[in-house]
């Protein structure tokens, strides 16, 4: 019977599961909202993947859990999402030296060596500024879906500046732009600039070295990607599936342990 390895990443917004085989190749993955119990969601996703691939639970040799929900998940090992993210990114981008990860609730910048060993990192997690949550609130104020934000923002003619980092104050700035008749794309571009500015400051802390990879849920947002790339002055490499890179890293670590 062949062995398999699972990586589970339970974040504040979504849970992700990745399955790798005995050769360390990713076979399948799944993503869903983590909701009230990220652990239950991750367990369901794992089950679904196993059924789909016709794999028995006993064939899972090692599971590594990461993300905020890692402590509650029954896994062989818990590993921080910083280590997992670095590992997952190194798999896709061996030349990566700086990893920018913007998730729902926090953002991090990780400096890595070839092979994905972490040498330094900086995190923003005390405040919604520079996170997916900030974008969500501003999108809500403008009545656009989170998915639309990026596509609209890149169409902006003129960026409307959002100067406050505080989510509550920034939201009222957005509203006053609306009442002044500003266009949604222009306001959204300002919102994306604000997220990028906050994260650029984190980049400065660890020091920037190319190649720079942008990952995490917010990497799907073209508006933030554009603003970030402009602010740090480097092109950004974005994985095809930025949400699952940390879960993949966890799965690869599990594979390495097995």
């Amino acid at each position: 019977m062949e062995d398999f390895f699972v990586g589970v990443d339970i974040g504040s917004l979504t849970a992700k599961v990745v399955l790798v085989d005995a050769q360390g190749q990713a076979l399948a993955w799944a993503v869903d909202r983590s909701g009230y119990s990220g652990r239950d969601v991750a367990q369901r996703l794992t089950q679904e993947i196993l059924e789909e691939k016709g794999i028995k639970v006993e064939q899972i040799k090692v599971t590594v859990a990461t993300g905020y929900g890692r402590v509650t998940y029954p896994a062989e090992r818990e590993v921080s999402e910083i280590t997992c993210q670095a590992k997952g990114i190194a798999h896709f981008f061996p030349g990566a030296r700086t990893v920018i990860d913007i998730g729902g609730q926090d953002s991090k910048v990780i400096k890595v060596l070839p092979g994905g060993k972490v040498i330094d990192f900086a995190m923003n997690d005390k405040c919604a500024a520079g996170t997916g949550r900030f974008l969500e609130v501003m999108a809500g104020a403008l009545e656009v879906s989170l998915e639309e934000v990026g596509a609209l923002a890149v169409k902006a003619e003129e960026h409307k500046a959002i100067s406050s980092f505080c989510t509550v104050f920034a939201e009222s700035e957005v509203i006053s732009h609306v009442s002044a008749g500003a266009l949604k794309p222009d306001i959204l571009a300002g919102v994306c600039d604000s997220v990028a500015a906050r994260v650029s400051a984190l980049v400065e802390r660890v020091g920037l070295e190319p190649d720079v990879v942008f990952t995490g849920g917010v990497a799907k947002n073209a508006g933030v990607a554009k603003a970030l790339s402009e602010q740090i002055g480097y092109p950004l490499l974005i994985p095809e599936n930025p949400q699952i890179t940390a879960a993949l890293g966890a799965a690869l670590l599990a594979w390495g342990m097995g």
């Binding site: 999402e81 910083i82 280590t83 900086a122």
Partner: protein, 408 residues
């Protein structure tokens, strides 16, 4: 004994408890017998020249240390809220807030607050906050405030700065003579300073014993054992206690007993302890075999007294306090600690309360990493206010950091 992953306790801790309880009890009795004996009670900042006050038979207690006591007694949150309700900003140092809270609401305060002082002495060598904090105290309590202004040192102590502080000390002597009705006895001041020097020397030697592998001391040991050098600096009891502590620490080194069960990783700590989470926080490290072998905070009380006549020495000693010095000086200090204690990394507590300690840490962190090649972690918290501590995000950082230091 080490049970499970817990600490090895010091046998002398029972003496420490007694020593500190006696110190606070004496402060309280001072209120009664102090008057007829003409002995005053002062509230002073941690960097104030206590030897001079001792020479005037003034008994000193430290509101900052009381702030730490409030925090370990889990009273800080309520006391801070009381101060905030009275209009003190949330951005104000939590020692100041909780201490002011303890005056406004003694019913919420450990020991119902500190015994009321006859005078206040503030020295701004640690921060500018203490000036306004003590002005507020003087206003609330209607007692005299004596201030010692030590200029910030971008480089070494200059003749001019030294002279400036010395003149203020001479002036303070006159003020204290007026307040107490006593004449300064230079011989007594010398004796006080000699005892301070002796006690400081013991504290320095005890800390240096942690250069051993495994280290006989961990972060919480340093933070708890520093209480006497802060609160009863220059007392014979303090010297006697440290003599015992040193003997027990030496015994640990001789037997090869570490403060934690299995020392795998040696770390240096920067900034004040996270009092409300002291054991909780440290546990994340001890569980993974990481020991805080030394720190910059309790080390602040291990500096030698400067030479010169008593007042000259006090002027130099108290102006040279590390918080009053440049980021270059502080980086050098960290680098020396990493090297001397053969540390594998360092952890900086970015302390929301203490701006002078925290603001330059990022610059220092980078410099120390560059020079020593060991990684440094930054954790955001507050030394006393538990509301500034986010358990989960701290855990993520700590785990990630230790994962970089230890093979998975």
């Amino acid at each position: 004994m080490v049970e499970g992953k817990k600490y090895r306790q010091f046998r002398v801790n029972k003496h420490l408890k007694r020593l500190m309880a006696k110190h606070y009890a004496l402060g309280r009795y001072q209120r009664y017998w102090g008057r007829p004996l003409h002995r005053k009670l002062a509230w002073i900042t941690s960097g104030a020249p206590v030897e001079l006050l001792r020479a005037f038979k003034i008994y000193s207690v430290y509101p900052e240390q009381y702030g730490a006591i409030c925090s370990t007694a889990k009273a800080t949150e309520k006391l801070c809220q009381a101060a905030e309700a009275a209009g003190y900003s949330q951005d104000l140092c939590s020692y100041a807030r909780s201490h002011i809270g303890s005056i406004l609401r003694p019913d919420l305060a450990p020991m119902q607050g500190l015994p009321k002082p006859d005078l206040l002495v503030a020295c701004n060598n640690i921060c500018g906050t203490v000036l306004k904090w003590y002005e507020a105290l003087a206003h609330l309590l209607k007692v005299p405030l004596l201030v010692l202004d030590t200029p910030y040192l971008p480089g070494e102590l200059t003749e001019h700065a030294h002279q400036y502080v010395l003149e203020q000390l001479q002036n303070m002597v006159r003020q204290l003579e007026n307040l107490t009705g006593r004449k300064l006895d230079m011989q007594d001041l010398k004796r006080q300073m000699a005892r301070s020097a002796e006690m400081t020397k013991f504290w320095r030697e005890i800390r240096e014993l942690a250069q051993a592998h495994p280290s006989p001391l961990n972060g919480p040991d340093l933070f708890i054992q520093m209480a006497p050098i802060v609160a009863v600096r220059g007392s014979q009891e303090g010297i006697d206690y440290y003599r015992k502590l040193k003997a027990e620490t030496e015994e640990r080194v001789r037997r090869g007993e570490g403060a934690i069960l299995e020392e795998k990783t040696r770390l240096v700590w920067d900034n004040i302890a996270i009092w409300p989470k002291l054991f909780n926080f440290t546990k994340m490290f001890t569980e993974r075999g990481a020991c805080f072998v030394t720190d910059t905070y309790s080390g602040g009380w291990a500096a030698e007294l400067a030479s010169g006549d008593p007042l000259e020495s006090l002027a130099a000693t108290y102006t040279n306090i590390f918080l009053n010095r440049s980021p270059e000086f502080r980086a050098r200090q960290m680098i020396e600690l990493v090297e001397a204690y053969e540390a594998d990394g360092f952890v900086m507590h970015s302390n929301r309360s203490c701006k002078p300690y925290s603001l330059v840490q990022e610059v220092i962190r980078r410099r120390v990493m560059e020079k020593t090649g060991v990684p440094g972690l930054m954790v955001e918290a507050d030394m006393a206010d538990p509301r500034a501590y986010a358990e989960e995000s701290v855990r993520t950082r700590v785990e990630a950091f230790l994962e970089t230091l230890q093979a998975l």
